[in-house]
């Protein structure tokens, strides 16, 4: 049983404070959703936890099983068990998905330990089948010329291969048509287990119809202003963000 604990986190980009004291705990097996309008700091939260160098954590802490990840480089955080599914995954011409994933799997092996290539490809192909991804996909360059749906499926494939303890999913539904959304959601649901905690960031309730969360948090101006169960998402959908603005924010 693992635990990701975000404690009174303050994040800024340059001089601008974006996340202003956010606390949240996700345990293995739980799916949390953070909802909020654009510009409220949701993506900043995800990137800061993953260790993006452009974001400065000015105070607070992020603990993975009680240990702060803040002194760690982004790659160390990833190997410790954090996974960020990007809203806008980078396109990297010339680096094939097969080589990239092999490097990522290799990085998790101990000193002098050799990757079992046969086992690696067997596992990769089974995950690809699960996500309905064509085998030819692996020889393509990372996200290079991918459709929105292919990019998001590629993110989920990486998540499936790397088996993180906690996945931060940043607007995974953005840019997807309904068929692609269903495939991606099915993939995430297939990965849901008692070993995985998920923090889903989304603007719309739509995704939550496919990936049903255990907890829903409403974020506004860098803070969580209301938490509840899945019914909160429906309430938010019905009443709109004006409701948050007018009734949930202390004057």
């Amino acid at each position: 049983m693992s635990q990701l604990e975000i404690k009174d986190l303050h994040v800024s980009i340059g001089e601008k404070q974006i996340v202003k004291g956010l606390s949240l705990t996700v345990r293995s097996g739980e799916v949390h959703a953070i909802m909020g309008p654009n510009g409220t700091g949701k993506s900043t939260l995800a990137k800061a936890v993953a260790g993006h160098p452009s974001y400065t954590i000015t105070s607070g802490d992020v603990l993975l099983d009680g240990k702060s990840v803040l002194p760690m480089q982004p790659d160390e955080r990833a190997r410790a068990g954090l996974f960020l599914a990007f809203q806008y995954p980078s396109e990297i011409p010339g680096v094939s998905i097969a080589n990239f994933l092999r490097a990522a799997v290799q990085a998790r092996l101990g000193e002098g330990e050799e990757l079992d290539a046969t086992g690696y490809y067997k596992r990769l192909y089974s995950k690809m089948d699960l996500l309905q991804i064509d085998r030819k996909f692996t020889s393509r360059a990372i996200n290079d010329g991918f459709s929105g749906g292919e990019k998001k499926r590629c993110e989920i494939l990486q998540m499936a291969m790397l088996e993180p303890k906690f996945a931060l999913m940043d607007e995974t539904d953005s840019g997807l048509d309904i068929d692609a959304l269903r495939i991606v959601a099915d993939g995430v649901n297939a990965l849901r287990s008692t070993n995985l905690g998920v923090l889903m960031i989304t603007h719309y309730q739509r995704l939550l119809g496919y990936i049903v969360p255990d907890h829903v948090h409403v974020m506004w101006d860098g803070r969580i202003v209301k938490s509840g169960d899945k019914s909160l998402a429906l309430e938010l959908e019905a009443k709109g963000y004006d409701w948050v603005k007018n009734e949930l924010i202390p004057a």
Partner: protein
């Protein structure tokens, strides 16, 4: 007390004295008279031409003080065992290994190819057996990019090299490989590869330039490609001289009607390396793909000059030169697209991309166009960039350490060039050579 007598060497000839030339000429006296005459003429040109000067536009940005010609010698013969020859691990249709200007090992082409009329032999053999064929093509394209003096030296001192002749319609699937070694302190070598592709042929020729040991060598080479009607020729040169080597290499490509030539130069070795390449598109449908990859480390200098000359309508050329710079290395790219007045519908592209992996490295770019026709499409561009921070973060966010992420991104940068090779084992062999440069064996 008398002053000690001093003989000051002439810096314009350095080690390459008349005595050295006379000794060389004596060693090749069995070759045809026309060739010996051409060597003598070239020797006179070498003596008459000055070293590059600061004011020479064609040597702009180059470190001229590095071009000293003394300290070299025509090296003695070596045995193949002394070369530490590292196999490249690809199946070949034939192999020639030269060391110190002499053939030292050979894997002949199959009897079947020989029966079809393919020639894959030494230049000396060809001069003696196929004199007219050689005479029509050997050094037929005069240099025009600044290295006239060194080209003259090459002609004067060229002892032997590779001769490839593809008779009409012959296709060879596997590459023909040529290795050129320099061995021993101060060895001066003059590698040469001449490829003549008759109509409708298809083949791949690969030159590997290597040093045995880490001595200071002098390499002054030429490779000339002639692609007749509809020929599809792939040429790869992998330059991996010792880090103390001064290298001049000049390439010419002639593409006739509907011929397609792809030339890829991989530059890894040398202290200071000058590479000149000029493509002539001589008839409609001709296409030249000019590719280069350079990994510049430490204090290495790579100076690349290119010419794309469109002499006929409906011709195309595509140049992509990519450099990765580390340490305090320096690269120079100077390219020119020339479109003759009647070469309408020319489609020419020229691009130089530099990946700066160090703040102390220096990349110089001089792209250029000279267009005399009015209905053409010509574009050029030069960029220098660092590792993309978002791409680096993306890879790191998957657990890949920064150094490994940067290496993946650097090889991704190279792949745009390497992926143009449609021969997978050769592609992988070149990646292998680049990997050794990034992670030298301890």
């Amino acid at each position: 007390m008398s002053a000690p007598s001093l003989t000051l060497a002439d810096p314009a000839i350095g080690s390459f004295t008349p005595e050295l030339f006379a000794a060389h000429l004596a060693s090749v006296s069995h070759l045809p008279a026309w060739w010996l005459d051409r060597k003598r003429e070239a020797w006179a040109r070498f003596l008459a031409l000055p070293l590059p000067k600061r004011t020479d536009e064609s040597w702009r940005f180059a470190t001229l003080t590095g071009l000293k010609l003394d300290g070299y010698t025509l090296p003695p013969a070596v045995t193949p065992a002394g070369l530490g020859h590292a196999p490249i691990g690809i199946a070949k249709a034939g192999k020639l290994v030269f060391a110190n200007n002499r053939l030292v090992a050979q894997e002949p082409i199959s009897a079947e190819l020989t029966k079809q009329g393919v020639i894959f032999e030494t230049l000396q053999h060809a001069l003696l057996k196929h004199g007219d064929l050689v005479k029509a093509h050997l050094l037929a394209q005069p240099p025009k990019q600044g290295s006239e003096k060194f080209s003259a030296l090459h002609t004067a001192l060229l002892a032997d090299g590779a001769f490839v002749y593809l008779p009409k319609g012959v296709e060879i699937a596997l590459p023909l490989a040529v290795f050129h070694y320099a061995a021993g302190a101060g060895a001066a070598v003059f590698p040469h590869t001449l490829v003549i592709a008759e109509p409708g042929t298809k083949a791949t020729v690969v030159d590997f330039f290597r040093s045995a040991g880490d001595g200071a060598h002098f390499a002054c080479g030429r490779n000339d490609l002639y692609a007749s009607h509809g020929a599809a020729l792939t040429y790869v040169a992998a330059q991996n001289w010792s880090r103390a080597t001064l290298s001049f290499q000049s390439n010419s490509t002639v593409a006739r009607r509907d011929a397609r030539v792809l030339a890829l130069n991989l530059h890894l070795g040398g202290r200071q390396s000058r590479h000149e390449s000029h493509s002539q598109l001589q008839a409609p449908g001709a296409h030249s793909e000019m590719l280069a990859l350079t990994v510049a480390h430490g204090t290495q200098e790579f100076d690349q000059r290119t010419l794309q000359i469109h002499q006929a309508p409906h011709t195309s050329s595509n140049l992509l030169y990519k450099n990765a710079l580390l340490g305090s290395a320096k690269t120079i790219f100077s390219g020119l697209i020339v479109v003759d007045p009647d070469a309408q519908k020319t489609d020419a592209y020229q691009s130089n991309r530099n990946l700066m992996l160090s703040d102390d490295a220096e990349a110089n770019s001089l792209p250029g166009l000279e267009i005399q026709a009015n209905d053409v499409r010509c574009t050029h561009g030069a960029t220098s960039s660092r590792i993309d921070a978002e791409q680096e973060f993306y890879l790191q966010a998957r657990g890949i350490p920064k150094a490994d992420a940067d290496e993946l991104l650097t090889f991704g940068f190279f792949e745009e060039v390497l992926s143009k090779l449609d021969h997978a084992p050769l592609h992988d062999a070149l990646i292998g050579l680049i990997k050794i440069k990034f992670n030298p064996p301890v």
